[in-house]
């Protein structure tokens, strides 16, 4: 008797389906759609920034509003786009990849998602409050954010608390699912790397999101309850804020990249038709990166006045992270090498990820060198670095994953020609947008300024052109996803010739309930 016919009647109809669903596929879909909407919103704020920076002088916005745009762009992209997208992919794919029927805690899963739109509605609404929204950078240093912040800062703090809770609940769910719900035969060292990277990411989230919650709580107390955590007058220290924030903040950036590593580690073997090189090494490298991520935080604070011994420690530890990261890049290249490659859209994004993320990694090594960081810190060189690792890094991996798994989700192949168009326009756009920013930083342009000296004009207008090209190219992806959901060439279960893993053993589209009986252990092979 087929499992699909027993007490399930298929998903509910209408809006109740989405409000009350506990199904990992539905929740994954909601996370992904939400994150895409946030990506477009955060991108719009970025276009406001690039429009203002197109030429010297103030053309479109006041400096205070510009500061709100840079702040909100960062907050939305980090907490609203990248993180929820990875959670969405985790929700959709982890149960499928480990042969589980759903996540471990399906009702908490629903709650984890639905508090997000509420938190972001609150956060975005601060732009319309008196005094404006947060204008102190996504890193919200004290005392700019405490003593000198706008009245809406309290709502910003509440929003951060809520989305932190969402991430923590999601992480608990991921860990419980991976530890407890693997199908028989799915040992830890047979799990796809995407599952491994998410397991490690989830532990990072558990460790550091509460520290962020602590920091914003201390901020709340300093603002409203007369404490002086970050105020010298009361015996506090603004630099303490930075230590606490970056203790969260550095692992946070690894939270935003480890799942990307997992995605690329799934896609390249598929399109190279060759097993991932060095699977065990990849697992250990990921764990090393996660461990090291806890002891490098002060490389964001090299100009704060730390003593020499501290500076040297953080310099050495930061340089060290290049080693396991390099190992991963070499392993991907070794996977491609002597493979039999085809270059469908997911593979294009994955290859671009390897090249461009590595370039971001190179500028990361440059930034690690403390005395030279004195020249790079808080300039566009840093902006270029983190955008390289986050945009053609994390975001490209999310796009790669979308193309890769869209046929499994919808049952239809997306339009490959449009996909390639989207890729090339994005690839060109992202490089025209961010590469010149390296030169701007080296030439002396600081971050977070709405207007600049004349010697920065040329590269700024080039960067702005790239910004608009990249930004508008994303509308192609909107169309591709929409078109694919509506129909297209039917996808087989296998979808991609070289694809391995349990998700490719179920039909496309994946049935509403999968692996209600565990899969045949013979189907479970190490990646």
């Amino acid at each position: 008797m087929s499992a699909a016919h027993d007490h399930h009647h298929g998903p509910a109809k209408g809006i109740s389906r989405w409000l009350f669903t506990t199904n990992h596929k539905d929740i994954g879909t909601m996370y992904l759609l939400f994150s895409f909407a946030m990506f477009l919103l955060g991108g719009t704020f970025a276009l406001v920034i690039r429009a203002e920076l197109f030429q010297p002088g103030l053309q479109f916005v006041e400096p205070n509003f510009f500061n709100q745009m840079t702040t909100m762009h960062g907050l939305i992209m980090v907490f609203g786009a990248v993180m929820p997208a990875f959670v969405g992919l985790a929700n959709w794919m982890i149960p499928l990849m480990i042969g589980a029927p759903d996540m471990a805690l399906p009702r908490m899963n629903n709650w984890s998602f639905w508090i997000l739109p509420f938190a972001f509605a609150m956060m975005v609404s601060t732009l319309f409050m008196e005094g404006g929204g947060p204008n102190f950078g996504w890193t919200f240093y004290a005392p700019l954010s405490t003593t000198y912040g706008p009245p809406s800062t309290t709502f910003f703090i509440f929003a951060v608390h809520i989305l932190g809770a969402s991430s923590i609940m999601g992480a608990i769910n991921v860990i419980a699912t991976i530890l407890n719900m693997r199908a028989p035969g799915m040992t830890l060292m047979k799990m796809p790397l995407f599952v491994w990277t998410w397991l490690i990411t989830a532990y990072l989230l558990i460790a550091v999101m509460p520290v962020l919650a602590g920091v914003v709580t201390m901020m709340l107390f300093d603002i409203h309850f007369g404490t002086a955590f970050f105020d010298a007058a009361g015996g506090g220290d603004p630099v303490l804020f930075q230590h606490l924030f970056w203790f969260f903040g550095h692992p946070e950036v690894y939270i935003m990249i480890l799942p990307a590593f997992g995605i690329v580690s799934a896609i390249i073997p598929t399109f190279a038709r060759k097993r991932l090189f060095g699977y065990e090494s990849m697992v250990y490298a990921t764990a090393s990166i996660a461990f090291l991520s806890f002891i490098v935080w002060a490389h964001h604070m090299f100009t704060v006045g730390m003593p020499l011994a501290g500076q040297l420690f953080f310099m050495y530890a930061t340089m060290l992270i290049a080693v396991p990261t390099g190992v991963k890049v070499f392993n991907w290249v070794a996977t491609m090498f002597r493979g039999s490659m085809t270059f469908e859209t997911p593979m294009l994004f994955a290859i671009a990820f390897v090249v461009l993320f590595t370039i971001g990694g190179f500028t990361g090594v440059m930034l690690a060198i403390t005395p030279v960081d004195f020249q790079y810190h808080d300039t566009y060189f840093v902006v270029a670095h983190f955008h390289y690792v986050l945009v053609p890094g994390a975001v490209f991996s999310i796009m790669a994953a979308t193309y890769y798994w869209l046929p499994k989700w919808t049952g239809y192949m997306y339009d490959e020609n449009l996909g390639k168009l989207h890729f090339w326009l994005s690839f060109i756009g992202v490089n025209v947008l961010f590469f010149p920013q390296h030169f701007l930083g080296l030439a002396g342009m600081p971050r977070r300024i709405p207007d600049y000296a004349l010697q920065f004009a040329d590269f700024n207008w080039i960067s702005s052109v790239g910004g608009f090209l990249f930004g508008f190219s994303q509308l192609i992806l909107v169309y591709i996803v929409y078109k694919c959901a509506r129909g297209g060439k039917p996808a087989s279960a296998q979808v991609w010739e070289g694809a391995q893993g349990l998700e490719w053993t179920v039909p496309s589209p994946a049935p509403y309930h999968t692996f209600e009986t565990p899969p045949d252990p013979a189907l479970i092979k190490a990646p």
């Binding site: 608990i172 419980a176 550091v208 955590f229 007058a233 003593p307």
Partner: protein, 189 residues
């Protein structure tokens, strides 16, 4: 389908992780006093200690070295107080107790309370600047128009690293009238 074991396995994991979450939240707060302790022990952020250090009778004075100690006085911009050291700098020998004073004037028309917060550069010298008597240890209450000469008695510890021969002691004066416990205690009497 779910086995009977799965719910209790989940419960164990969830419980442990929830403790971890609470623990990390507490850790974040624990870092606050921990930061202060580390800074106190190492002088890392230039904070000098708030403890009185008694100069021992017959404290050994290192005649071979001369240390220049510079004094900076900053008052918070909107405080309306004057704040000036009696000397721009003094040259001292390690171990020798010296005294200078800071003149403070409340030019406003109400009672105010000030708190001076010290900071030392280079950071490595902070732990070696020992204060025997310092106005920064206490809140200072001044009546409108009142002036005071506040003493600072200090000595430089002979263990100060050999490569430091100049250090700067800066005080920033803050208006803590609203938060002052001392003032409230006085008012209550």
């Amino acid at each position: 389908m779910k086995t009977d074991k799965a719910p209790s396995k989940n419960k164990t994991v969830v419980t442990k992780l929830s403790f971890a979450v609470v623990g990390m939240f507490a850790f974040g707060f624990a870092l606050v006093p921990l930061y202060d302790v580390i800074c106190d022990i190492t002088g890392l952020n230039g904070k000098t200690s708030n403890l009185v250090v008694q100069a021992e009778a017959g404290e050994i004075i290192d005649e071979s070295r001369e240390i220049t100690v510079q004094f900076i006085a900053r008052e918070s911009a909107d405080m309306g107080w004057g704040f000036t050291p009696s000397a721009a700098q003094v040259k001292v020998k390690p171990g020798e107790v010296n005294m200078i004073s800071y003149k403070v004037t409340n030019s406003s028309d109400k009672v105010m309370v000030g708190q001076a917060i010290p900071s030392v550069a280079p950071n490595a010298a902070a732990g070696h600047l020992n204060k025997v008597e310092c106005f920064c240890f206490e809140e200072q209450i001044l009546q409108p128009g009142e002036s005071a000469d506040m003493p600072l008695r200090f000595f430089v510890d002979p263990a100060l690293s050999a490569d430091i021969s100049k250090l700067t002691l800066s005080y920033t004066l803050y208006d803590i009238t609203e938060k002052s416990d001392k003032l409230k205690a006085l008012a209550a009497r």
